[in-house]
């Protein structure tokens, strides 16, 4: 029973990591840039989702009890608005922070990425009061839950002897749909083809008439939209959004992307679930009454170090000799 339950827990954590890791990996693929602000786009997504859902709640809850269909609609609209806002944010970050530095040394972009990350975090720490409501701010913002989403699915309860709630199913469902969509965009659209071309060679694709700026903007928008989905799912799970909620998941997702081979899309997904599995395993081991849970994060970072030492190209990556 406990093993099944822990596997389901790992799936939950893995989905969260994967949605962030994909953004890291796609941006790295086309620009060779680690976009450290990505975890914070995830945070903005959670906030925007919370504000939207809350605003809709104000309009509907006058009657009293909220129905499942209403709250589902509320969460759905919240998710869509968060995706749009984060997409715009991702576009703006690339346009105003990274594009002016495109030909600068790579270190400049990296430092700028850290700057953008801190900028987003501390802008979110400031609270704005509009119309008697508080937006952003350091104290957690309440995220309205979906009615009934905390209830268990009885059939699964009986078959697996583990508790799966509707929230889990929502998470897995949304992630699954997102991954398939992403796969389709990258593999079967002209834009996807252009993205793949740019990731192979910047100059050659420019010579072939690909509009580099458009492809790069599109990549940032796509990655940020995925982060928004992740932010909303995590916000929904924990009923709250906070300015620093993206820091640790962002780092973990980065590790996951490195494990899978940074720049490689299926690699990011596999790396995320692998990392989640290892973390869950470590945290659930107890030796002579002493829990190993405090070492979970240490193990995650140890894996990053080992991976970089032994196989820096990741599980799915190809070792490409540095061109001189």
């Amino acid at each position: 029973m406990m093993v099944t339950q822990q596997l389901i827990n790992a799936l939950n954590v893995g989905s969260e990591y994967a949605l962030i890791a994909l953004g890291y990996t796609m941006v790295y693929g086309v620009l060779r840039l680690i976009n450290f602000a990505h975890g914070d786009v995830f945070m903005v997504g959670a906030f925007v989702g919370a504000f939207t859902a809350r605003a809709l709640e104000g309009g509907m809850s006058a009657g009293g009890h909220l129905q499942l269909s209403q709250t589902l609609w509320q969460a759905g609209v919240g998710l869509l608005v968060a995706m749009v806002v984060c997409g715009l944010l991702g576009w703006a970050i690339e346009r105003f922070a990274y594009r002016p530095l495109r030909n600068a040394p790579r270190l400049s972009s990296l430092i700028t990425a850290i700057g953008v990350s801190l900028f987003l975090e501390y802008m979110a720490e400031i609270s704005w009061h509009v119309g008697g409501l508080r937006y952003f701010g350091s104290t957690p913002t309440y995220f309205p839950p979906i009615a009934g989403s905390n209830h268990g699915v009885h059939v699964i309860d009986h078959v697996l002897h583990a508790r799966v709630i509707y929230k889990d199913l929502i998470t897995f469902g949304v992630c699954g749909v997102t991954f398939v969509l992403l796969w389709w965009i990258v593999r079967h659209t002209r834009m996807g083809k252009a993205m793949r071309a740019v990731s192979i060679s910047f100059d050659a694709s420019r010579l072939m008439g690909i509009n580099l700026n458009r492809v790069i903007s599109f990549t940032f928008i796509l990655g940020s939209v995925l982060a928004a989905v992740g932010g909303c799912l995590v916000g929904l799970r924990n009923n709250q959004a906070q300015p620093l909620m993206g820091v640790m998941p962002g780092l973990k997702a980065f590790i996951a992307a490195v494990i899978g081979g940074i720049g490689n899309i299926p690699g990011a997904v596999v790396g995320s679930f692998l990392l989640a599995l290892v973390e869950t395993l470590v945290a659930s081991i107890t030796i002579h009454g002493v829990s190993l849970s405090p070492y979970r994060d240490a193990v995650a970072f140890l894996i990053l170090i080992l991976m970089l030492l032994v196989r820096p190209e990741g599980i799915f990556g190809k070792a490409v000799p540095e061109k001189v």
Partner: protein
């Protein structure tokens, strides 16, 4: 196209430089410097602990405003300078240094979180600036530092109340303990709870841990569920507590969770919702206490802060500030070591949270309450004596 050409840059730099010089100049000959008493409020205005920090800071500022309305202290106005410790010990250290070195405060009130206070204590001790922590309960943060004081109960007391309540009032013998290894508050409180619960014949079945800021606690909770405890001790801060309880209830862990004053925030009710119902925590005071000194404070606070009910951190900040003002009066100034000695000899100071006497370990011995969360409300179920 670019705005950042060299001439603009030079002009900007000169403008900035002129501004800085003007700033320095003003500070050095400020006529008001001698007629104000500057007191530092070291609190987390941002980050995970900011509800605590903001409440505490509001309490301190209310006390100063009231004192200034009564004509100030020794003919001078009090000015509170807030430094943000950003919910991080390393930032708390920088913030306290800025209070001491840049603002030349005569005393520091803060921090709430024990880890942050622990980082600030050596700085105040070295500069011989008295520090009073209104709310850090970890017993180990003040040791040989004779310039540092505490005006709330410690976790040695609070932890015993928690363990005893679970053992005697909830009749539990099998418990789990979930600890935040990042917080001195949590690890310290956990140690006392474990010792006392075991001493009373209870058994701690398992003690997994987390780190504040984690978003997923299901792994630890799944382990706890499998051990079937009758109660779960959760000595953590409200932000994580609400998420943990949410996930615990999802996993169908229905037993009560019991924690300490780190749970005290209106956010616990709002975010926790049904998940926190039926849980207990120990706290410093009860805002519904009919005693006139409590009600007078609650009214003044609500009037000043748009109807917000003062939580424990607000009242502790208020008490610590008033105790400091009282000591400054008795010391007839802010000189060193007169002020430090006046704080150390505080006897039966009438605070909102009870009479405060600073003992030889520079701690206050105070009563507390056990609160039950019932239908979106905090209800006092037990009064504890020190």
């Amino acid at each position: 196209m670019t705005f950042f050409n060299r001439r603009n840059f030079l002009a900007g730099a000169m403008f900035l430089g002129a501004g800085l010089l003007a700033g320095c100049h003003r500070a050095s000959v400020s006529p008001s410097a001698a007629s104000v008493i500057k007191i530092g409020s070291l609190n987390s205005m941002t980050g995970d602990e900011s509800t605590f920090g903001k409440s505490c800071n509001s309490g301190i500022r209310l006390a100063a405003e009231q004192q200034n309305a009564r004509g100030g202290l020794l003919g001078k106005k009090i000015r509170i300078i807030t430094a943000d410790s950003e919910s991080s010990p390393s930032k708390a250290q920088l913030a306290v240094l800025s209070l001491i070195d840049n603002h030349h405060v005569v005393a520091v009130l803060g921090d709430v979180a024990s880890s942050n206070t622990k980082a600030a204590v050596p700085r105040c001790q070295k500069a011989r600036i008295p520090l009073i922590t209104p709310a850090s309960t970890n017993p180990n943060i003040l040791r040989g530092d004779d310039y540092c004081f505490r005006t709330c109960f410690t976790d040695t007391t609070q932890g015993k109340w928690i363990a005893r309540f679970a053992r005697h009032d909830l009749h539990a013998t099998r418990a789990a303990l979930l600890v935040d290894t990042k917080q001195a508050y949590s690890t310290g409180l956990a140690r006392v709870i474990r010792a006392e619960f075991t001493r009373l014949g209870g058994k701690i079945l398992l003690a997994p841990s987390y780190q504040s800021g984690d978003t997923n606690f299901q792994t630890q909770l799944t382990q706890i569920k499998a051990a079937h405890p009758q109660v779960v001790f959760l000595p953590g801060y409200y932000g994580d507590v609400t998420t943990i309880l949410q996930q615990a209830r999802e996993l169908k862990i229905t037993v009560p969770f019991v924690g300490g004053d780190g749970w005290d925030s209106q956010k616990t009710l709002q975010i926790g919702g049904k998940a926190v119902d039926g849980c207990y925590f120990t706290n410093h005071y009860d805002p519904s206490d009919p005693a006139p000194r409590v009600q007078k404070f609650v009214k003044a606070y609500e009037a000043r802060y748009h109807g917000n009910v003062p939580d424990a951190m607000a009242v502790l900040g208020y008490d610590a500030a008033n105790l400091l003002f009282n000591a400054i009066k008795r010391a007839h100034g802010t000189g060193e070591p007169a002020l430090r000695n006046a704080i150390a000899t505080t006897k039966n100071f009438p605070g909102v949270t009870g009479n405060i006497t600073i003992n030889k370990h520079r701690n206050a011995i105070k009563p507390g309450v056990v609160i039950k969360i019932e239908h979106d409300k905090f209800v006092v179920v037990k009064h504890e004596k020190p």
